[in-house]
Symmetry: C2
Subunit: 246 residues, 2 copies
């Protein structure tokens, strides 16, 4: 048993893309999250239902492998499956396929269940995870951690705006990705696309806070390391392997 | 004859909304523009076709009337019709209807045709406007202009980010609306929604530029006046009438 699959189709529209004509990584993650949200609704464990129970899913890590990013107008299929879970974490996979049924993106995501009243991670309840029919395992996955920024090559500062917070009352994913990648030079962003993106979320950022986005670029490896902080508090870290834009 | 109508359905998703659970005004405009783009494709006058001919549509003004903004999960219909045109301007209307077929939003938009090589407004060609079957008129519409900001009540500064520019090579609409509305106090934005939005675009903003967003709030009228500048250059102005959020 490896969990129920769910697929939605989507056509990439211009405002999900940037000057390269390719889907933004932040929009990619939003589209995937939307598909898992729709699956949850269909299985009777919607965001609203969980909210009534006093819980909410939070993402602690995304590992994204990109063969190529879809272009504007391209029709894609986004498939998700909640593969397995242990006491505290649920592991969910996402796949993007193009019109030739080629897999072009794979994302592995770690979810945890937040007890909203106690503001801490809760044990995953059977009634919440059962409908997905994922596999229970006693094992914790050992996923690679992004390497830390040691020498800052690029540095920008952002203020969290009112419209950055979506109806889930969180800073939408898109903005974390924007803050990190926007530090890189224009010419680099125009000529490269993500090959692998490993992002770990540490602490939530709130409306009105000022975030510092620091980036180190490892020339030999074509890798950028990212760190988002609010004052002394680490908000998220990421390691990105780049490939030339085809 | 008043132009061919075209309708698309859409379900509002969480990342198009803000903490009020309502569709962001910037996303609303993006959704409308998408529908007109799809209509243009279907009529054989796509953005790509115009681009090959050396032209591109630009928006010079949006007048938005909101009865209420749709909520997350709500299914809406977006209808567009290119009603009329004269030598230099095309007037297009957009309507949003809810599931009870009630009109909840109406937007009137002025488009002009840009000659990309000469970087100036071109006369509207029959082969480009013909397929929409709008009415030719010799009249120029006299639309209200937003009143100018005279006394600055709120003031914020923004830098144009790489991801702000979409595949059309322009700063996406969303960001103009974000820059303007984000200046207002959180409490106000949480408890009010737009009733009428009149925005006039003057000069394009480019990647890396720093924009100043200045706002005057007319308490007696529940109206905010907005101005976006890059240095001394006026980029866009707007006047917004607000209503309490129901």
């Amino acid at each position: 048993m490896s969990g129920k699959k769910y697929t939605e189709e989507h056509q990439v529209v211009y405002y999900e893309t940037n000057v390269t004509g390719r889907l933004n990584i932040g929009n990619l993650v939003d589209l995937c999250m939307l598909v898992s949200t729709i699956q949850s609704e269909k299985l009777g464990v919607s965001t609203e239902k969980l909210d009534e129970m006093g819980y909410g899913w939070i993402v602690t890590q995304n590992l994204i492998d990109v063969t190529r990013l879809p272009k504007e107008h391209e029709k894609i299929k986004i498939t998700t499956v909640a593969k397995s879970y242990n006491r505290y974490f649920c592991y969910r996979d996402f796949y993007m396929h193009d019109e030739n049924n080629q897999e072009i993106v794979h994302m592995h995501t770690v979810f945890a269940l937040m007890d909203k009243k106690q503001r801490k991670i809760a044990r995953i309840k059977d009634e919440i995870i059962g409908p997905y029919e994922g596999e229970y395992t006693t094992k914790l996955e050992r996923l690679a951690n992004p390497r830390a920024v040691e020498k800052v090559d690029y540095d920008k500062r952002y203020r969290v705006r009112f419209m950055d917070i979506d109806s889930n009352q969180h800073v939408n994913n898109i903005h974390y990705f924007d803050w990190m990648l926007d530090t890189l030079p224009e010419e680099f962003l125009k000529t490269h696309e993500v090959q692998h993106f490993n992002i770990v979320y540490k602490n939530e950022v709130r409306y009105g806070e000022v975030v510092d986005s620091k980036t180190e670029f490892l020339q030999d490896e074509n890798v950028s390391l990212h760190q988002i902080t609010v004052g002394d508090k680490l908000s998220c870290v990421a390691e990105v392997k780049w490939q030339p834009l085809k």
